[in-house]
């Protein structure tokens, strides 16, 4: 028992020493833009936080005032459009870099020893960024935001179907409704919801900022490992985009009318299509399992190989996730969802592809077992600065 605890502590200390939040240890490989994603992540995050604080000067978190205050920021206040555009597009940039970086870490096997902890932080970062995103876009109080908040917070209510199966206390123990109530501040989206979302939207970044600062302080690493040119380039991109393509406002929220068609922010579109396909309980369980799988990948994939073809099963799982993300997003944008036809097709494809991947994995391992041992691969990453 105590040796197990000691081992666990040692494991954790080891991973913590090699922790790599923003690719600080990969600076010498930045000629490849894939390894610039870490510093980009930090850059976009800081821009989002700073512009967000500036927006707070003018934003009014009430159902009657929110939309008007954003109209004012966008059209009346000098450079309001710039701050708002920077906030929106830097946040989009943040999500894009997190997703690309996660795929890079996945396909290059960077989550393997000693990168487990770095991977878990990267993945938790994605989840928190998406929560920050959905709580943030409610603040505009437009139609898209209102209905997104409403549907997202109705999903946990269906967890009550599960907890109701617990004997004796099941009927009383409505965890799902409790979660929804705590976020909504009542049984429907209203003023309380707006306040709570505002607190969460800012609070997530605040807490993570402190965590990142503690990390930088203790490791003595540089914060932004990026030369001046990309910094200027990305800043120019943000400014030009905010000018050419002003961040949109949408229509004011109307609790009595759901527009047709209605879409979410771009990074939720695939999930949105998935929710159309499944019974509502699975709308909550599916993403939950996906997050669980993502967090546990380093412990599920025990193979030594880092290159994609050296671990066929997990390579195919990653590809499948990428393909589904793109296909579902495309389908929902063209408003295609024939609900009798598509879910069985998707299920069948998933089962076929995954069993194919399993066969590939088994055959690969058998061949490995027969072949003479390969020479040790060169280390995939440089040692951490200390």
């Amino acid at each position: 028992m105590s040796t197990m605890l000691a081992n666990l502590q040692e494991w954790y200390r080891d991973r913590r020493a090699k922790l790599d939040l923003f690719d600080e240890t990969l600076v010498d490989r930045q000629a490849n833009p894939l390894f610039l994603l870490g510093p980009m992540l930090y850059y976009f995050w800081i821009v989002t936080v700073v512009s967000g604080v500036v927006l707070m000067f003018w934003y009014e978190p009430t159902p009657t005032g929110a939309y008007n205050s954003i109209l004012r920021i966008q059209h009346d206040i000098p450079f309001g459009w710039l701050w708002r555009g920077m906030h929106k597009y830097a946040a989009d940039g943040l999500i894009i870099t997190i997703i690309l970086r996660i795929y890079r870490m996945y396909f290059l096997g960077e989550y393997k020893k000693p990168g487990e902890l770095s991977w878990i932080w990267a993945f938790a970062g994605l989840v928190l960024a998406m929560i920050s995103g959905i709580t943030g876009y409610l603040l505009i109080w437009n139609q898209r935001a209102f209905w997104a908040a409403k549907t997202v917070l109705t999903v946990p209510v269906f967890f009550d179907e599960l907890t109701a199966k617990i004997p004796v206390i099941g009927e009383q123990f409505q965890v799902g409704s409790m979660i929804a109530y705590l976020f909504l501040g009542g049984p429907a989206v209203g003023a309380a919801t707006l306040t709570r979302f505002y607190a969460l939207h800012f609070g997530i970044s605040l807490v993570l900022l402190i965590v990142a600062e503690v990390f930088f302080f203790r490791t003595r690493r540089r914060r932004l490992n990026m030369s001046l040119f990309p910094v200027l380039l990305f800043t120019a991109m943000l400014v030009v985009t905010s000018y050419v393509l002003p961040a949109e406002l949408g229509r004011r929220a109307d609790p009595n009318r759901t527009p047709l068609p209605i879409l979410s922010d771009w990074y939720f579109l695939a999930l949105y299509q998935y929710v159309k396909y499944t019974p509502p309980l699975w709308a909550g369980l599916g993403p939950g399992l996906l997050i669980g799988f993502g967090m546990l990948v380093p412990f599920l994939d025990r193979g030594k190989g880092r290159r994609p073809l050296e671990r066929p099963f997990f390579f195919v799982v990653g590809l499948l996730a990428l393909v589904y993300f793109l296909v579902f997003t495309a389908l929902i944008m063209f408003n295609i969802a024939v609900i009798e036809r598509e879910p069985p097709l998707v299920l069948l494809t998933t089962i076929l592809v995954l069993s194919g991947a399993l066969v590939w994995e088994v055959r690969y391992r058998r061949r490995q077992a027969q072949a003479p041992p390969a020479p040790p691969p060169r280390p995939a990453r440089a040692e951490a600065h200390t």
Binding site: T151, Q174, G190, K276, P279
Partner: protein, 220 residues
């Protein structure tokens, strides 16, 4: 060896001492959860309580003259009052509804009416009133008088021959309901909805249809 055992004993004692400590902390902090949900009893944060029950005002949804022909319908709004955790405390919320004249008489799905302490005057009618809050994830669905519009605008669902009449369809996740299904009014024809939409209980007074109560359940 003896040294090891002494350490084990110490660890055991630490464990034994920590359990009541943790328990005490939990007991102390659980009322603090009320910070998030103040209008409940201590230790009852988990379940929605009597304070969360919504109440509503009766409203005239339509007159019988307005629903003379089959498939005539009217949208109406039923107002509910429910607690909200803001300094003001309460908020009114509109529950949009639709009242429809069906082509034939059906048995109304009003089993819930008795559970809220009301007695319906009749159980069969050709007029039915649905809450337009989608039982899937709470969007407001539409009454679509022409089924072809459902096919073109709501994801390509083609109803079977015997259901090619007015349908109800939700813009969010494309659930489609048949208001006139004789066995289960509001039957889910397509989409992820887990059940038919909730219904309103109404009475008829001097040719006016008075909506009294909405079927409880779900988050508005």
């Amino acid at each position: 060896m003896a040294q090891d055992q002494a350490m084990d004993r110490r660890r055991f004692l630490k464990w034994a001492a920590s359990l009541p400590l943790v328990g005490g902390l939990v007991a102390f902090s659980s009322p603090l959860l009320r910070f998030l949900k103040p209008n409940v009893e201590p230790f009852a944060v988990i379940t929605p309580t009597a304070g969360d029950i919504v109440t509503g005002e009766p409203v005239v949804a339509a007159t019988l003259a307005e629903l003379a022909k089959p498939w005539d319908f009217r949208y109406f709004v039923f107002t509910q009052r429910y607690p909200q955790y803001t300094p003001e405390g309460f908020k009114t919320q509109a529950v949009p509804g639709v009242i429809i004249r069906l082509p034939q008489r059906i048995r109304l799905p009003w089993d819930w009416v008795r559970t809220v302490g009301l007695t319906p005057q009749f159980t069969e009618s050709d007029v039915i009133a649905f809450s337009r809050i989608c039982p899937h994830l709470g969007c407001i669905y539409n009454f679509v008088p022409e089924w072809r519009e459902v096919t073109s605008g709501y994801g390509g669902y083609v109803p079977p021959e015997n259901r090619r009449h007015a349908l109800m369809a939700c813009p969010c996740h494309l659930s489609i309901y048949d208001p006139a299904d004789p066995a289960m009014p509001g039957r889910v024809l397509s989409g992820p909805a887990p059940r038919p939409p909730r219904t309103f209980f109404y009475t008829i007074e001097a040719g006016r249809i008075l909506v009294e109560r909405v079927e409880p359940g779900g988050i508005a």
